[in-house]
C-alpha cells in the first residue's frame, strides 16, 4: 500500500441558502483555498474527483458546470460520484494506490435550497415500492428513532444531550451554520414536531461544500508539515430494502470499521456523519467507540449538513486536527443514502 495523506482542507461558511449563487460560484472559492493553502500550481493535480447530486440542483449534469472551478482546460483526468464526496475521496485514494496518480483534488458540495430537501431525498428509495409512497427523510428517521426508543436503545434525554453537545461544540467552528444550543432541559420541553423527533434532533438544511487535497508519500510531506495519513479506509452498504433491515443497526459500519483498522490503536477523536441525533448512537455503537473518545468536536452534521459534502467534511475535520497536532489518531465516518444505508470509515494518523 502506498502512504497517502490529506494535506489540505477548505470548506464554505455553511448557510441555509446561498440563494444568489449558482453551484460553481459557491464551490469555486473553496476549491481555490484548498489548492492555494499548499501552493498547488496548475498541472500538479493528477486526478480530480467530485461528489454532488443533480437531484439537489434540479438540473441534469450539474456537476459538469462546476468543473469550470478546477480549470479543466486543457483536459484533465477527472471523475464524479453521485454520492457524498467521501466516496470521491475513496475513488481518488484507489487511483493513487494503483499508481495512476500521486496527487488528487476532491470536492463535494450541495445546494439544497432550490428544492424541498426531505422530499428530494425520498427519491433515493426504490422506484417501485417505496418511492410512490413519498416517505420523506425525516419521516423515515422518525421510524428509526421510534424503534430505538421502544427497544430501550436510546432515550429522549440522550438524544437531547447529543443535540446540545453538538451545537455547543460548533461555537468554536467558524464554518458552522448552527452555533450554540438551548439547555438539555429546554430541548426536552420542545414539541415533537416529527414525533418522536423534535427539530433539534434533525440536521439543518444547508448550502455549502468542501474541498480536500490528498497526496502520496514525499509529495504529501512536501505540501504539509504534518500530513494526516490515511491508514485505513473502507466502505460497505446495508440493504436498500428498509423492510429487510433491522433499522436500529447498521452492520455495514462495523464491517467497514474492522476493515479500516479502527481498533488497531487508541482513538483521540471521531467525526461521525449522523444527520439525526439517534443515528449518532447507532454509529458509535457499530464503531465500538469508548466513552473517552471525543465525538464531533466540530459540531458535526447537526451544526451544518451540506448534502454530498458533510461526509467528506468529517474526514477534513479529523485531518485538520491532526495537521494542528491537536489529535494524533482519529476516525471519520461518512454516510450516504437514507437511514445510514451506505457507510465509509477512515482512520487518519499523524505519525
Amino acid at each position: 500500500m502506498r502512504d497517502v495523506a490529506i494535506v489540505s482542507v477548505a470548506q464554505s461558511v455553511h448557510r441555509r441558502s446561498a440563494r444568489e449563487l449558482n453551484e460553481v460560484e459557491m464551490i469555486q472559492p473553496v476549491i481555490r483555498q484548498a489548492l492555494d493553502q499548499v501552493g498547488v500550481q496548475k498541472g500538479e493535480i493528477d486526478f480530480t474527483c467530485s461528489g454532488s447530486s443533480d437531484y439537489l440542483a434540479g438540473q441534469a449534469f450539474s456537476f459538469v458546470m462546476t468543473l469550470d472551478a478546477v480549470g479543466p482546460t486543457p483536459p484533465i483526468s477527472e471523475s464524479h460520484v453521485e454520492m457524498d464526496g467521501a466516496w470521491a475521496l475513496y475513488e481518488a485514494w484507489v487511483k493513487i494506490q494503483t499508481g495512476h496518480a500521486d496527487t488528487a483534488l476532491i470536492y463535494g458540495y450541495g445546494k439544497s435550497s432550490p428544492g424541498d430537501l426531505p422530499r428530494v431525498l425520498s427519491r433515493q428509495l426504490d422506484p417501485y415500492y417505496y418511492q410512490p409512497l413519498w416517505p420523506d427523510s425525516i419521516a423515515l428517521a422518525g421510524l428509526q428513532a421510534r424503534l430505538m426508543l421502544e427497544q430501550g436503545l436510546i432515550t429522549e434525554q440522550e438524544m437531547a444531550e447529543i443535540a446540545y453537545r453538538s451545537r455547543e461544540a460548533a461555537k468554536t467552528n467558524p464554518h458552522a451554520q448552527l452555533q450554540g444550543s438551548q439547555s438539555v432541559e429546554e430541548l426536552l420541553a420542545q414539541p415533537r414536531s416529527y414525533d418522536p423527533l423534535a427539530r433539534h434532533d434533525c440536521a439543518p438544511i444547508t448550502d455549502g461544500g468542501v474541498a480536500i487535497v490528498i497526496a502520496a508519500g514525499e509529495k504529501a510531506a512536501k505540501w504539509c508539515s504534518r500530513p494526516a495519513w490515511i491508514r485505513g479506509i473502507d466502505h460497505r452498504i446495508d440493504s436498500h430494502n428498509l423492510g429487510a433491515r433491522d433499522l436500529t443497526k447498521a452492520p455495514s459500519i462495523g464491517i467497514a470499521a474492522a476493515k479500516a483498522g479502527v481498533h488497531d490503536g487508541p482513538i483521540d477523536i471521531a467525526e461521525l456523519h449522523a444527520p439525526f441525533t439517534h443515528q449518532e448512537k447507532i454509529i458509535r455503537t457499530e464503531l465500538g467507540l469508548s466513552d473517552e473518545v471525543v465525538v464531533n468536536p466540530s459540531g458535526g452534521p447537526l451544526a451544518a449538513n451540506p448534502m454530498m459534502g458533510a461526509g467528506l467534511i468529517r474526514l477534513g475535520e479529523v485531518a485538520q486536527r491532526i495537521h494542528s497536532g491537536e489529535a494524533n489518531r482519529g476516525v471519520a465516518h461518512a454516510t450516504s443514502g437514507l437511514l445510514l444505508q451506505q457507510n465509509l470509515v477512515a482512520v487518519l494518523e499523524g505519525e
Partner: protein, 187 residues
Amino acid sequence: MTDIQMPDQLWTQPAINDAALGVSADVEQIQRIRIPAAVRYDYVPGLATTRFLRGLANKEILGERCQTTGEVYVPPRGVSPIDGLPTVEQVKLPHTGSVSTFCVVHIAFGTNAPPTPFCTALVLLDGAAVSVYGPIQEIDYDKVRIGMRVEAVWVEDDQLDTSFENIKWWRPIDEPDVDPELLKGHM
C-alpha cells in the same frame, strides 16, 4: 471474503402464501398503474448568469472575461474554465458573429420549433471564445455553411424579457465568410 454471512434463501424465491387471493378473485385485475411524481425547484441562475439575463432584457449580450487569457465567455457562468478563477470584467458583445457549426433539423420538437426542415447553428459572436446556440432563418436551410456571417434578430422591444429567447433567430449579413480554420476550438 469469508466473514460476511449471507442470509438464507438469497438466491431462491420463497414460497408465496396465496391463501388471501381467493377472497379477491372477483376484483378486477390491475395490470398497470400510473403514479405521477414531481419535485418542484426554485431555480436561481447565479450572479454571472443573472447579469447576462438582465442584459438581454436591455438588448445587450454580456460576456465575461477570463483574467488570465482575456478570452470572453458567453453565456457566463461566473468562473473561467482556463484558470478556475472568477470572471469579473463584463464585456458587451456585438450582435454579429460567424456560424461555427450547424445541423439541419427534420423532426420538429418543442412548442416554438419552426417548420421543418430548418437549420440550427452554433454562432461564435465577434470577440467571444465560445459559441451560442440558435436557429438560422431568412436563408434556405441548405445554403447555410460554416464561416457564414450572421446577426441576431430580436423580438419587438415591448416583448423583451430576461430570456435568451429574446433572440428569435440569426440571419445572414452581407459580409465575406470567415476562414473555418479560425473557428476551430470555439464550439
